[in-house]
């Protein structure tokens, strides 16, 4: 195999104390040095709690393959990307890269608010590893892609956040390394621009570039990747074709996410206006479920805090299937709240998806709350919960008596009308025979 990335027994250890106090002081260093003679014969490091963020990870990636990396938070995805992009070294093991690496761990790395769009484009391009001639050649294309032509000589601190992100991503999207390492950067910007970026990345794939792509978004993973590495506790738990690994992940309990909650208000997704506190998938009886009979309605319940009075808020859900196709987007049109500024407090809004509506398979739910005049997204949490729709083939779903593979995003039981025109026996025969 013509591997462009070869990872062998890669392990990375972090000292946990390092997180609490990221840097030492000279005093500690002196104290440690002074005590060192006394510590001879004892293992001085034994008392420091450590964590193996990566534990014996090995894989080969052939040139041109687009590989998704999935796993829960803390599974080691970001650490792996940091090792592959040479930001940090492994504690053990070895990686060989047979090509130029471009890494995109954050949108806007190197952007400085005081510099103009033009200056930032060159600076960020250079930081990502492009040379001046290359940036100059692609400059017009980058600016046009970001749709910021008019403001390119304005300091980016005057940009709207959307413009800022578009320009930042556009610079990165025009990077042409042999190996592209991307971390969840698509979770920014508006949906139309995300779509454009996804297309741009698929372009990258078309040019035979190798891409490693970390995401929590199963739709994005299944749309982009050919192969998926599932990490769990720093090790490779599964490595294989997309559909296989994703369904293992979703079904394994590693990824079961019928309910998500944020107990720490400061860590909850949202802004000063509203924060998402929990989302769960429920049945009519109120139980949290991760699978629903296709014939039964399923409730998507979001609990959120409104912190500032006066905002008209429209909760909404986006539901994607395993293939990354958006099955639907639904807004809360409840007339009581649709035009009413909301007083602060805790709200629970539930969307009821009727039975016999969605097709079989795993559904990935994005929960959001927006204000549309003026446009503001208060929170938008991708793949916040996942549930499976199960068709039991009892014969009373849209499947009828058919037991084979049934494509389609929705599987509604729809009214049919049939008209029978009784045939005259002899006339019919004659007609057929004629």
């Amino acid at each position: 195999m013509d591997a462009i990335i070869r990872a062998r027994h890669v392990s990375k250890q972090y000292r946990l104390g390092v997180r609490a106090a990221p840097y030492g002081t000279l005093r500690e260093a002196f104290v440690r040095a002074a005590r060192a003679p006394l510590r001879l014969g004892r293992n001085g490091h034994a008392r420091v709690p450590t964590l193996w963020a990566l534990n014996d990870v090995s894989f080969d990636i052939p040139s041109g393959q687009v590989v998704g990396i999935i796993g829960r938070n803390g599974a080691g995805k970001s650490t792996l990307l940091k090792v592959l992009s040479r930001i940090t070294r492994p504690t053990r093991g070895r990686v060989e890269l047979y090509g130029r690496v471009g890494s995109l761990l954050e949108v806007g790395t190197g952007f400085h608010p005081e510099l103009t769009g033009r200056e930032n484009t060159f600076l960020a391009g250079a930081i990502l590893g492009m040379d001046r001639a290359e940036i100059a050649r692609k400059f017009d294309e980058i600016v046009a892609f970001a749709e910021v032509e008019k403001f390119i000589d304005t300091p980016v601190k005057h940009f709207s956040s959307g413009m800022y992100l578009r320009l930042a991503f556009s610079v990165a999207a025009h990077l042409e390394p042999d190996i592209l390492v991307v971390d969840e950067v698509l979770a920014v910007g508006d949906l139309a621009f995300q779509r454009k970026c996804l297309n741009k990345m698929q372009d990258v794939q078309g040019h035979g570039r190798t891409v490693l792509f970390v995401s929590h978004s199963m739709p994005a993973i299944s749309r982009l990747c050919q192969r998926v590495l599932l990490l769990a506790d720093g090790a490779v738990a599964r490595d294989g074709p997309v559909s296989e690994v994703i369904s293992y992940y979703v079904g394994s309990g590693l990824g079961t996410m019928a309910e998500r909650r944020w107990d720490e208000p400061d860590l909850a997704p949202g802004n000063d206006v509203a924060r998402l506190r929990s989302v769960r998938v429920r049945d009519e009886a109120g139980a949290t479920i991760d699978a629903i009979d296709i014939r039964r309605p399923v409730g998507l319940e979001m609990v959120y805090d409104v912190l500032e009075p006066g905002a008209v808020l429209m909760p909404n859900y986006h539901v994607y299937n395993e293939d990354g196709v958006c099955a639907f987007i639904a807004h809360d049109l409840d007339p009581e709240w649709r035009f009413t500024p909301r007083p602060p407090g805790r709200y629970t809004s539930t969307l009821w998806v009727p039975g016999n509506f969605l097709a079989e398979g795993s559904m990935f739910v994005t929960a959001a709350a927006s204000t549309y005049t003026p446009m503001a997204v208060h929170f938008l949490e991708r793949d916040v919960v996942v549930f499976r729709v199960v068709d039991t083939t009892d014969g009373d779903s849209a499947r009828g008596d058919f037991a084979g593979h049934m494509p389609g995003v929705v599987r509604p039981v729809l009214p049919w009308t049939t008209q029978l025109e009784p045939a005259l026996e002899s006339a019919g025969r004659q007609r057929v025979g004629a």
């Binding site: 390092v18 840097y23 030492g24 070294r89 504690t91 090509g99 790395t109 250079a126």
Partner: protein
């Protein structure tokens, strides 16, 4: 980047990522490949230095001029420090211009990594470029104040001699020294934030331990050896000799250059050793 290590590219070795081995040989190839980034970061530092300041680049003149006035008043007039045959203000300014470059470059470089933590944790490039850019950005200020220095020479009617041709060489040694000290401190600063507080004080002391605002002859004979070991002494004495058209103290200059080279080399090695941990601790 000009290298393109495509698979199968004839004879191109792969990029190998392994646990670091301390005190390995210096890798100067990587910084060279990223020289354009050095250029862009230097330009950024220059552009940001005076953006949003009211006086702008005038600060490059004001700082050494103000220092010169203060020292002229207190050391020249009040304390009556001798100035080896030239007017004290000119004497002091000749020392202050290189010194201010050095002290600004060292303090800028030593904080440069910390203020670039967002880059260090998000993208790879040879880290040494960050303090190097901070040092090079100081050259703009140096040039501006050097022009003022030339004007001052004209004002005092001192003719320029061939010695001026040595200024680039002296500046080169000064830049290397600032780079060495600044890079070393920058690396230590990531691990020990004490540096941030201690360094301005140490730099201040260093100035008074160098013949910046007083002549070398003022120091007692038994401390002359210490003064000679301080590379700033050789460099500043060199600047004075070059611009006042006097004889060079070549052994002193050679010693300064040698010590500077040793410091820069040690700093690069120490930095390479510290570098790999930056992303984890910054």
């Amino acid at each position: 980047m000009t290298v393109n290590l495509a698979p199968g590219a004839a004879g191109q070795p792969p990029i190998v990522i392994e646990p670091g081995r301390p005190w390995t040989a210096l890798d100067l190839r990587a910084p060279w490949e990223y020289r354009e980034l050095l250029y862009f970061l230097t330009v950024r530092d220059i552009k940001l230095r005076y953006r949003q300041t009211f006086l702008g680049v005038a600060w490059a003149v004001l700082q050494p001029v103000a220092a010169m006035l203060v020292f002229s008043l207190f050391l020249g007039r009040v304390a009556g420090v001798t100035s080896s045959g030239v007017p004290y203000p000119l004497f002091a300014f000749l020392g202050l211009v290189p010194w201010m470059f050095f002290s600004n470059a060292v303090s800028g470089a030593s904080n440069s990594l910390i203020t670039s933590s967002n880059l260090i944790t998000k993208v790879y490039f040879p880290r040494v470029i960050i303090p190097a850019a901070a040092v090079l950005a100081g050259l703009v200020d140096f040039s501006v104040s050097f022009v003022v220095l030339l004007a001052l020479l004209v004002y005092y009617g001192i003719p320029l001699t061939g010695g001026v041709l040595l200024v680039p060489l002296l500046l080169g040694v000064l830049v290397l020294l600032a780079f060495g000290v600044g890079t070393w401190m920058a690396g230590l600063n990531v691990k020990f934030r004490d540096i941030r507080y201690a360094l301005p004080f140490v730099v201040q002391l260093w100035m008074f331990a160098s013949p910046v605002v007083y002549p070398r002859t003022l120091v007692p004979e038994r401390w002359q050896w210490a003064l000679r070991l301080n590379p700033i002494t050789g460099i500043i004495e060199g600047f004075r000799a070059a611009l006042l058209g006097r004889d060079f103290d070549w052994p002193l200059l050679a010693l300064a250059a040698g010590i500077t080279l040793a410091i820069a080399l040690y700093a690069l090695l120490a930095f390479a050793r510290m570098e790999e941990g930056f992303a984890d601790v910054i």
